[in-house]
């Protein structure tokens, strides 16, 4: 057991004992829902002002708080809803369900001093950003397609590799280091169309939360961040439809009761128009995507709720029938919420999810299917021990099947032989305890421990290498090369090839000087057992996930963060600043010229390196008034290196290695020194609303050739150390105007809005890349700048009834 872990167990036990108290105490519990739809509300605060204490609802709208006997005034408050104030006399355990009414309904012309998004300065949780679905829908985006991931990039510490790039990067981490959970199911690829759009349908989403640091022990398996997204359950009061028609895709969502107030359904679909890029390209191609979200929810009784949710998304990309590419995620998730008591909430999740990737290359007579399947069982308990102590604990087991690819001939004349690349199997198990502990009014602690175990299970064929080294180093040419296996063994599915065991302690502390100022600090250690084999600056759908195993070690992170938080003018403004440092062991790197696709012996091209990132983040928000928004600034550095392995004595000689990039640190592709994002929303009146964002980022690291040579007529630029240069700085300004027409008939439930947006309004041709090549016609060498989007105007029409 690692030392920090051992030290943690003691306080956990001690605080447990403290709870045994003689005073007469009762528990107030229940759920908080939206009065119009019965939709559970996440993160609603239930406050007892006189005791300066409170609780927030969990992911299923449940709350529980235990207080001394007495009469209390209770304030239930949430952004976008009217406050509820109620006096209760607590002389026995009570169950009270609150229904909150949307605020917008009551607002007329003036107002606009509604709920402020006051930051929770007393909670030990730090490095978390939430985005409301409304904000996500308001943020101007390219082609008007509201997008969760493109919105995240406006937050401090979050960047993406560019306009046509999948995923996002948090605090200098790679895209595969983000744990993306949609209704608790792991999403392996978050992008449609190679990154132009993300896979989440904003109409079906209820809540989005991004943990960048101080990650609680209930999450694990990725080292950079956790993006937690919950879908709506569906309206159990009345049937509703909503949808939109946009420049890229159209959406339609229906929800309604199956049994009124007890059972509901939600079904939402989104599809892009076929041949999306057709007008732009002169060849016969088609690129399209669709996704489908479904959800059923049944409230059996006060103590039991079940949910069944599903997601299915596919992308299709077709060039002249010569190149056909289909990929996407799918999952089915069964969840059961059970209340053991008014203090103990439990959720059982059974999740099957799958990521599929298929490719057909007609010009070589070749078809390729690959994917990952996983079976995930999770049991999470939330134990509300008192008004100052909450404990979360649970277990999780995930079984994975990796299919690196099955190759088949696509016609009888093809010379391609059917071949199944060796499937890989693994099991990841974890148990955690996570405590939120309020020590005094001003001091709160969060501490927890996750224990994770990963077993790489046996497979049909496994290579054996001399000295157990699948990568060999040539000490004369100074290059790494694939080793030739000396044997192939068949370990069998029942065996364990290698297993890993990790203690992952998490600690956070908050000290509030007063109601408006606090400092917080956190430490988290995390392990990541899966690696995305991606040799490119942003993931492509061709990238394949691979488990840790005999030659690939799990990534291990230590992250430290320190922050200062302040509410200004009663929360009209808020300021959040943080510094962080993190280091990651065993970040994989690839030998020069590594082939990652359809490679049956990926260990031959991988070396274990390390990564580190550090930075400063600032988020200044204006939370009230007609004009709202934020300014986010990040100053950071992200780098990695892969030094040579320790010398191995071979033939009586010990071979030194130079490492990749001569073992020197180099900037990761997501190293953006300065990152500024400004977002503003201005409501002129009930009819017109304006939103704008401005982004400025230091150019992405890139390479310029240090020279050129010729070989067999080819002009080849050659490069020195990696990522020494940068692309020109990236910046752009987007504006959107939302027109909500006045209802002609106030009785009708039909609501609609028009969103007019202009992306990149000053038409800056931001460089996505700079390439070096010989001009085919003139024979002269040239540098080519590629830009993806210039100015892009678009119109979207949204409706609901």
């Amino acid at each position: 057991m690692s030392r920090p872990a051992r030290h943690l167990l003691v306080p956990i036990l001690i605080f447990f004992l403290f709870q045994v108290q003689a005073q007469q105490r009762y528990t107030l519990s229940g759920t908080i829902t939206d009065s119009s739809s019965n939709e559970n509300l996440i993160g609603v605060s239930l406050l007892i002002p006189e005791l300066r204490t409170g609780v927030t609802t969990n992911e299923y709208g449940f709350y529980s708080i235990t207080l001394a006997e007495g009469e209390y005034e209770i304030l239930v408050t949430s952004l976008g809803f009217q406050d509820i104030i109620r006096t209760i006399s607590l002389n026995q355990n009570q169950k009270i369900n609150f229904q909150m009414a949307e605020e917008a309904e009551q607002l007329e012309e003036v107002v606009v001093t509604d709920k402020t998004k006051k930051i929770d300065i007393r909670k030990p949780q730090m490095s978390v950003n939430t985005l409301s679905v409304q904000t996500i829908k308001d943020i101007p985006v390219v082609l008007g397609e509201a997008d969760v991931i493109k919105s995240l990039v406006l937050l401090p510490g979050v960047t993406s590799a560019g306009e046509a790039s999948s995923g996002f990067n948090v605090r200098g981490g790679a895209a595969d280091q983000n744990l993306i959970l949609l209704d608790e199911a792991i999403i392996f690829n978050s992008s449609h169309l190679f990154g132009f759009f993300s896979v989440f349908n904003p109409d079906a989403i209820k809540d989005v939360k991004l943990y960048k640091g101080g990650i609680p022990a209930r999450y694990g398996g990725r080292v950079s961040s956790v993006l937690e997204i919950y879908q709506k359950e569906g309206n159990s009061k009345e049937f509703k439809m909503s949808g939109g028609i946009g420049a890229v895709a159209s959406r339609l969502l229906a929800e309604g009761p199956i049994v009124k107030d007890k059972a509901s359904f939600l079904i939402g679909g989104r599809a892009s128009y076929a041949q999306l890029f057709l007008p732009l390209i002169d060849i016969d191609n088609a690129a399209s995507f669709y996704d489908l979200n479904t959800k059923l929810n049944y409230k059996i009784n006060d103590n039991n709720n079940i949910y069944l949710s599903g997601y299915f998304g596919r992308d299709k990309f077709n060039v002249n029938e010569q190149f056909v590419n289909i990929y996407g995620n799918a999952f089915v998730n069964f969840r059961w919420n059970h209340l053991f008591s008014n203090k103990l909430f439990s959720n059982l999740s059974l999740i099957y999810s799958d990521y599929y990737y298929g490719l057909e290359l007609d010009f070589v007579g070749f078809r390729w299917n690959s994917g990952i399947q996983n079976f995930n069982v999770k049991y999470d308990l939330k134990h509300y021990l008192g008004d100052n102590l909450q404990m979360n604990y649970g277990i999780n087991n995930i079984y994975y099947i990796f299919n690196p690819g099955k190759i088949e001939p696509n016609n009888p004349d093809s010379g391609i032989l059917e071949d199944q690349l060796t499937k890989k199997y693994a099991n990841e198990a974890a148990a955690y305890v996570d405590v939120e502990h309020k020590i005094t009014d001003n001091l709160s602690l969060g501490y927890g421990l996750r224990v994770s175990h990963f077993a790489r299970l046996g497979q049909d064929e496994l290579y054996v290498y001399e000295n157990d080294q699948p990568v060999v180093f040539d000490p004369f040419q100074l290059v790494y090369q694939e080793a030739t296996p000396i044997d192939t063994i068949n370990p069998g599915r029942g065996s364990t090839l290698k297993d890993f065991f990790n203690f992952e302690p998490r600690v956070s502390v908050a000290y509030a000087f007063n109601d408006d100022n606090s400092v917080k600090a956190s430490y988290n250690r995390m392990a990541q057992y899966l690696h995305l084999l991606s040799n490119t600056s942003s993931p492509t759908p061709l990238d394949v996930w691979t488990p840790s195993g005999p030659w690939v070690d799990p990534q291990l992170l230590n992250q430290y963060a320190l922050g200062y938080f302040r509410n200004i003018k009663e929360g009209a403004y808020s300021l959040e600043t943080e510094v962080f440092y993190k280091d990651i062991e065993n970040r994989i790197d690839y030998i020069d010229g590594a082939n990652l696709i359809a490679n049956n012996a990926i260990e031959q091209v991988i070396l274990n390196g390390e990564a580190q990132a550090y930075g400063f983040e600032l988020l200044f928000r204006k939370n009230e008034g007609r004009l709202r928004g934020w300014l986010a600034y990040t100053l950071s550095r992200s780098e990695q290196r892969t030094p040579g392995r320790p010398p191995v004595v071979d033939n009586g000689r010990s071979n030194l290695e130079t490492g990749i990039n001569f073992g020197e640190w180099y900037s990761t592709p997501y190293d953006k020194t300065h990152d500024i994002a400004l977002y503003g929303s201005y409501e002129i009146n009930k009819k017109w609303r304006f939103n704008t964002n401005f982004i400025y980022q230091t150019g992405q690291p890139t390479n310029y050739p240090v020279g050129q040579f010729e070989f067999e007529g080819l002009v080849v630029p050659f490069y020195g150390l990696r990522n020494k240069e940068r692309l020109p700085d990236y910046h752009r300004l987007d504006i959107a105007a939302t027109l909500t027409p006045r209802k002609k008939n106030p009785e009708t439930s039909w609501k609609s809005e028009w969103v007019f947006s202009v992306y990149n309004i000053y038409n800056r041709m931001n460089a996505a890349s700079i390439n070096f090549r010989q001009n085919e016609d003139t024979g002269a060498n040239e540098a080519i700048k590629t830009s993806i989007f210039g100015i892009v105007p678009s119109v979207t029409y949204n409706f609901s009834f």
Binding site: T536, A598, F709, V716, I770
Partner: protein
Amino acid sequence: MRLTGLTYIILTMLIFTSCEEVIEVETPSESPRLIVEGLIRVDQSEPFLPVRIKVSLTDNFFGEIPVTNLDNILISYQEIEDGVISFSGSSTLAEIAPGTGIYEPDPDFFDDQRIPTVVTFAEETVFNLLISHQGRRYFAETRYVSSVPIISAQQGNATFFGEDDTEIIVLFADQPNKDNNYIFDFAFNEYLVTSDEFYKDQLFQFSYFYDRQFEPDTEIEITLMGADRNFYNYMDQVIEQSEASQGVFQTPVATVRGNIFDITDLDNNQVVDNTGRPELFPLGYFAVVQEYRQKVTIRE
């Protein structure tokens, strides 16, 4: 078939939706390195190997590649069977004309320096290249690799990148009972690497697309060469880097290093490897491979 090119296809598609612009960029420079172009393509029906080694120096990416001349260049060869050298020989090369940087077997030597093709009939002939240049010595070792004939190469009608494509359908039979790598030379400085991983011992047919149309009756000569794994990887990288397939799906650039290395400081006693001098290396490759040619005449 190696699939690294796929990323390139996707990239190409993205480029279609985007905008390209030639820009002025100042690229860094470093002190010149020796470049050795040493691919010897063997036609076994000819009496002698077409030995022709070109040397030059690296320059800034936007500069001119200057030729250079060598103090000495020698190719030696041998075949070892069961630990016994069954034959060996060597060839001294000389610059064909001053200032060309092109070296061929020295015609002024006291005996014939040309290498007879028969030396490649043996199973595993090893060739060594030894060069002295400006006070430094370089060395490379390579094994002769055989190839197979192209059974047919025909023009097709399909298109891929656009209406102006020209499709060539190539058919060949994989060399049986061994792992093979091949390099296709489609002329016009277009190359393709492929390995038999997924079509072992099979007849294999595929389409190659030129992103252009040709005048009718144009004759295109396609060459199929053998390659060992190292040369295959080298050509794969050379092709990738010259195609400028960086970008959103940019792969980390690699300094494409060949099989020729600096041996000046190696004394096999104190200094047994080059790890202490990672910056000192030449560029280029030395390979001796068999080739088969096939002509296609463009119709219409």
